[in-house]
């Protein structure tokens, strides 16, 4: 097989959650410091994704898939090991999105865009596209807190779909909204994912989707990399295991 450029390289990634319960002042003053427990969400995971590759991630709930994605997106850095994105821009697409509730949709688009590393001019160019795609009509100029949950996710989807980054991390969102928007977003998603220059990591529980979309599938079990390889093999093993 020809050697291709590598877009994501993760080496021995470990991510710990310190189980530190939110403390109150009373606890701090009057109780001895309890032992801090650490919970290893991701243990020693290494993998690489080629540029333009599509990697599926599968595993039961709470096995550290989303944590891994968030680490790749840079929300937090791994406790040990390294994740190298080779200078590519990255965006994370997940359910429940980071909007400022009091701002209008338009302002939120601009702010999200800036956080994803786009210049103001680029955002201005894309603005109309996003507004058109989201199909939320005049609500775009109203505060996000007045949105219905459907509009919320439609706008979020439009932002990440239109502001195209080199690497896209998809956490369980392949389509949102009503039937019509679902179709539209699914086809947009497929278009984005199959783009030759875009590297994608998809977290999903849907075996069929992963089988049809991915070049490779990674199975994470309890934070450890259990198996990585051709979608058919890994998914078959996974299905057997889950029975």
């Amino acid at each position: 097989m020809e050697q291709r450029e590598i877009a994501i390289e993760a080496k021995n990634v470990c991510i710990n959650y310190r189980i530190m319960k939110n403390v109150t002042v009373r606890h701090n003053l009057f109780k001895k410091r309890s032992h801090e427990e650490t919970f290893e969400a991701v243990k020693n995971v290494s993998f690489t994704v080629e540029k333009g590759g599509i990697l599926g991630v599968i595993g039961k709930n709470g096995s550290g898939k989303s944590t891994l994605l968030r680490a790749i997106a840079g929300v937090f850095s791994p406790n040990s090991g390294s994740i190298d994105l080779k200078g590519h821009t990255v965006s994370l697409m997940a359910l429940g999105v980071g909007f400022k509730e009091n701002l209008t949709g338009r302002d939120n688009i601009a702010l999200s865009g800036m956080l994803l590393g786009f210049g103001e001019n680029q955002i201005r160019d894309k603005m109309q596209e996003i507004v058109d795609f989201a199909e939320i009509g005049e609500f775009i100029d109203r505060p996000v807190r007045t949105y219905s949950s459907g509009m919320h996710s439609k706008l979020a989807f439009a932002i990440t779909a239109m502001l195209e980054t080199d690497i896209m991390l998809v956490d369980e969102v392949l389509s949102v909204g009503d039937e019509r928007f679902k179709k539209k977003s699914l086809s947009k998603m497929k278009e984005l994912i199959t783009d030759k220059n875009r590297t994608v990591i998809i977290v999903s529980h849907n075996i069929d989707t992963l089988k049809s979309l991915c070049d490779e599938v990674m199975w994470i079990h309890d934070g450890e990399l259990r198996e990585m390889g051709k979608p058919e093999e890994v998914l078959t093993h996974y299905v057997e295991f889950m029975k």
Binding site: Y17, V23, V25, V75, N102, L103, L115, L116
Partner: protein
């Protein structure tokens, strides 16, 4: 009496120890703590006696000083021991070294350059959203402090016979600065939690969130300052070049608010009920800050002046009033000192945030 005198040395020593253990994340053994306590004790006493010597207080002169001098010395000692702790950690602790400090500095510069546009944009959007739905729009930024001024002028000027010259301006200017400060503190405690949606999706340096919020508050303060200028003209206050001192004072004030806020912001993530404490302390501080009276003049002799000098908020407000209303210069040595303290506070705040922000998302 002897006990009281020794406090002059003990308080700064404890301060040094506390800062040392703060820089090392509290990972100190008891033996090390005891050792450090004596070490800092010796260092603090030596420097204090050294300073006293240069000021012409010799031998056991420190014991015979006036109370206000003693308090002054204690506070000076705290500042000194803070610097000592920082230097000590740089030398002997593995966690905090010059190399790392340089790295953080570069990172801070880079982050500021990269995200200041975001902060400005976010502040603008916040301001716009605040006025978009209100009936009187941006007029509220004027009306609110103006009404507060009327209330305070009525109560303190008429009922309590305040004798300060240009009393309405006196109150209005102090109030707008105090509001800036207290809003900043109140916001910083909950800011990480309130922006959960954003920080769990993309990385951004968390102090930018607070900085953006400060820009919003700063803009509102600016609006009230426009009113202050108008009032200066209406009341025919004689203004001299000394009004220019307002600028450095405001810079120090801004830095101080940023430094303290960014430290509070860190603790606000872990301590759920910190906002109550901050609320109580703020309302206490408000009365010690002289928003509606001159602290230096009203509180009996040594304490009033001390409060004004060693409460940075009070100091900034008083200096601003002196420069703008009574055209007197601020005490420059104090201004420089508070400037330095604010820079150090901001550095500690940003350092703390950088160290811990990785964990914020996991906690909230």
């Amino acid at each position: 009496m002897y006990m009281l005198n020794s406090l002059i040395m003990i308080i700064p020593t404890l301060m040094g120890l506390f800062m040392h253990s703060y820089f090392c994340h509290g990972r100190l053994t008891v033996i090390k703590k005891t050792g450090l306590f004596f070490l800092y004790g010796i260092m603090v006493s030596l420097t204090m006696y050294g300073i006293a010597w240069t000021r012409g207080i010799k031998g056991d002169g420190i014991a015979h000083m006036t109370l206000s001098h003693k308090i002054e010395f204690t506070i000076l000692g705290c500042v000194m021991s803070f610097c000592m702790a920082l230097g000590m950690c740089l030398c002997i602790e593995r966690d905090i070294t010059f190399e790392k400090l340089r790295m953080y500095l570069i990172r801070f510069a880079g982050d500021t350059r990269k995200y200041y546009k975001y902060a400005i944009k976010s502040a603008k959007a916040d301001l716009r959203s605040e006025v978009a739905n209100a009936y009187l729009d941006w007029l509220w930024w004027l009306i609110e402090p103006f009404c507060m001024m009327l209330i305070y002028t009525l109560i303190f000027g008429v009922v309590f016979h305040a004798s300060e010259e240009y009393f309405p301006i006196f109150i209005f200017s102090g109030l707008s600065m105090w509001t800036f400060f207290s809003r900043g503190m109140n916001v910083s405690v909950n800011i990480v939690r309130n922006n959960k949606g954003i920080i769990s999706k993309v990385y951004l340096p968390k102090f930018i969130l607070y900085f953006a919020r400060m820009l919003v508050n700063g803009f509102k303060m600016l609006v009230s300052f426009v009113v202050v200028v108008g009032m200066l003209i209406v009341f025919r206050v004689p203004v001299t070049w000394r009004i220019l001192y307002v600028i450095p004072v405001m810079i120090v004030f801004f830095l101080f608010t940023f430094g303290l806020g960014s430290i509070l912001m860190h603790f606000g993530v872990y301590v759920n009920d910190l906002s109550y404490i901050v609320g109580i302390i703020l309302s206490m501080l408000m009365y010690f800050t002289g928003t509606f009276y001159a602290v230096g003049k009203r509180i009996p002799a040594p304490f009033g002046e001390l409060l004004e000098q060693f409460n940075p908020v009070a100091y900034c407000i008083a200096s601003m009033r002196n420069a703008a209303l009574y055209s007197t210069s601020p005490q420059l040595d104090l201004l420089v000192m508070w400037g330095l303290v604010s820079v150090v506070l901001s550095a500690v705040g940003v350092y703390t945030i950088y160290r811990n922000e990785n964990a914020y998302v996991k906690v909230i």
